[in-house]
Amino acid sequence: MTVVLDKVSKSFGAVKVLHDLSLEVQDGEFLVLLGASGSGKSTALRMIAGLETVSEGTIHISGRDVTNELPKNRDVAMVFQSYALYPHKTVAENIGYPLKIRRLARADMEAQVRDVAQQVQLDELLDRYPKELSGGQRQRVALARAMVRRPAVFLMDEPLSNLDAKLRGHMRAELKHMQHELGITTIYVTHDQVEAMTLAHRVALLEGGRLQQLATPRAIYEDPENLFVAQFIGSPPMNVAHGTLEGGTFIVGDDRVATGGSETVRNAVIGLRAEDCRVVAPSEGQLHAKLFANELIGDHTLVTAKLGEDTLSIKASKDFEAGFDEAIGIAFDPDKIYLFDKDTGARIDRRG
């Protein structure tokens, strides 16, 4: 079941919170809408659900125009951050509610509820009330309620953020497995890039109501479309250094780095992933910086260095040792650099 957003915009009064968002979600795909709070990702999800009206543009689900359709007629199911379990209904009644609304025969309903409950290992708890369940169990109930009617699309609004870290990791894996098994198109909203990277077939990164990039996790990591994406994804974030680009040579301080291109940009930024850099003797590095701090993480040491005003992080071997304010050189493979226009944020070296 596909979901297609065509130039969808949303305004609240004079404030436009979503600008011309276009997305195509394939049948069975797991798409994550990633963004910081206020990026418009939840609004987009709620518009797909029909909980918010669409100011401009159209939304199609399974080829049907649902732009002005009521939520209940869109054939979507949603899992809320708060799970939104009905406190006055038992687990069985909660799960069965969508079926009850559709006036299913009682026997069918019970059978299906039991099936779904079994899938999420809730069959022992059917007679309990939500307040008698743990966080993880409540989460399963919410999932079960979404699954029970086999909707065209699953919508999930930060479903894992109310769980503690350990449980979250476990549930993430379960979720991924379940989505694979059921094969239902899923749109998932989160602000957590780890969730996005691990769960998604494709990630749509939003900022300021605009789609920044829509790509597979790998592509979005390795080939960010702009400076924002580059800095949003990855831990630690991508290192950047400010300088100028003159005929394909990036100049920062006294260092000149050949980039293999021939552009000239006055305000340019060079980007480097921490794992793509190496700390070397000052004489060997393409860039020259001062060591600011080094922290032993375990399997590696995280070195923080100062390059002019910019701060760079570099993953070094766990045996690395150096004193504060010591001059160091930073070496990297010229293929692994990213160049951006500081004023527009656009990638400069992405020519393919």
Binding site: P71, M78, F80, I101
Partner: protein, 348 residues
């Protein structure tokens, strides 16, 4: 001394920790108030078993000791006059129950709407409506225009003006204004509106019918329901409702399946209050009923038979009998209300 007494009194710990003097003071105040509350009820109760002579020749207090209780007033009401009593009782029940149900339902719907939807009526349009209404009244009152004609043309003029002028009006009202407007209706003393309401029902030939009184009670109690329920609805997480919508429920289904069950504490308290108010209402019933729809409070008042004096004994019987439905309802609703009676309701 008094300050330490105050301190002890306000000690929010166990009674065992209270000084014996404090305990005595607290209990004597409470027992005094208990006596103050119960004595009139006791007096009404024993009066219902007295004869005229017992009542008129000075006070007597204890049945069987200083007067011989007699069932004559009870018999009179339930044996000889049972038709009238029963009629009024049934009328009162029908009216109180239906109007309570109607105002709780309609009021809850409005309170829910104000809590969940956004309304932005234009101030100018509202003003136009009021002005047109005044003009229509003036026409009916001063020039004797038929009221049907006046209201039909009034509506037509209003619709025309609203469409023609609507876009020139800028100022808008908000949900808060609507809420305040609705709640403020409770400020209206019934005496202000009762005569026009009387004339209105008279025009449509509904005077002295159940429906007239039910409608009127429903409206006068709407503000209370809206006032009390608005906050209850606001406190329900909106996720629940959205989730139900996505599960396939209509708005009305959401209201019925999710919102109402979750506010039953508030509903129970509101229902009880509204029921008490409509069951006991006198002034409006006096105007709007004559014979067929006569209610119990009117029957109580009618026990003041003028020339022969007040029939204290019969009146006492009616007063006692009138408490029963309220108590029954209170007991039924008790388990929902528990200790949170009326709270949240007025929380602000």
């Amino acid at each position: 001394m008094s300050r330490t007494l105050m301190q002890r009194l306000f000690e929010p710990t166990s009674i065992r920790d209270m000084a014996i003097g404090t305990k005595v003071i607290v209990y004597s105040i409470l027992l005094f108030w208990t006596a103050f509350v119960l004595f009139p009820i006791y007096w009404v109760l024993i009066t219902s078993f007295k004869t005229a002579v017992d009542v008129n020749s000075g006070p007597v207090f204890l049945p069987f000791i200083d007067f011989q209780p007699s069932l004559h007033a009870w018999k009179e009401l339930f044996v000889f006059d049972y038709e009238d009593t029963l009629k009024a009782y049934v009328n009162s029940l029908i009216i109180a129950l239906s109007s309570t149900a109607a105002s709780v339902l309609i009021g809850s719907m409005a309170a829910y709407a104000l809590a969940r939807f956004e309304y932005r009526p234009k101030f100018g349009v509202v003003l136009t409506f009021v002005l047109v209404m005044i003009a229509a009244f003036y026409a009916v009152g001063a020039y004797g225009v038929d009221w049907r004609l006046a209201s039909a043309s009034g509506i037509a003029v209003f619709v025309f003006l609203a469409i023609a002028l609507g876009r020139y009006f800028k100022a808008r009202l908000s949900n808060g204004d609507i809420l305040f407007w609705m709640i403020s209706q409770r400020i209206l003393a019934p005496i202000v509106v009762v005569v026009p309401i009387y004339m209105m029902f008279q025009q449509v030939r509904l005077l002295d019918t159940h429906i007239a009184i039910i409608l009127t009670y429903t409206v006068i109690n709407l503000p209370i329901v809206i006032w009390l329920m608005y906050d209850f609805f606001r406190s329900i997480p909106i996720d629940l409702e959205e989730s139900a919508q996505l599960d396939g429920a209509t708005r009305i289904g959401v209201f019925w399946d999710i919102v109402l069950p979750l506010s039953r504490t508030g509903l129970a308290a509101t229902t009880l209050l509204v029921m008490i108010l409509s069951w006991n209402e006198y002034l409006l019933a006096l105007f709007l009923s004559t014979s067929r729809a006569q209610t119990m409070p009117i029957l109580v008042a009618a026990m003041n038979a003028g020339e022969r004096g007040i029939l204290w004994w019969s009146m006492s019987v009616v007063i006692i009998v009138m408490i029963i439905p309220v108590i029954v309802l209170a007991i039924i609703l008790q388990r929902y209300i528990s200790k949170g009676l009326l709270l949240g309701a007025v929380k602000g």
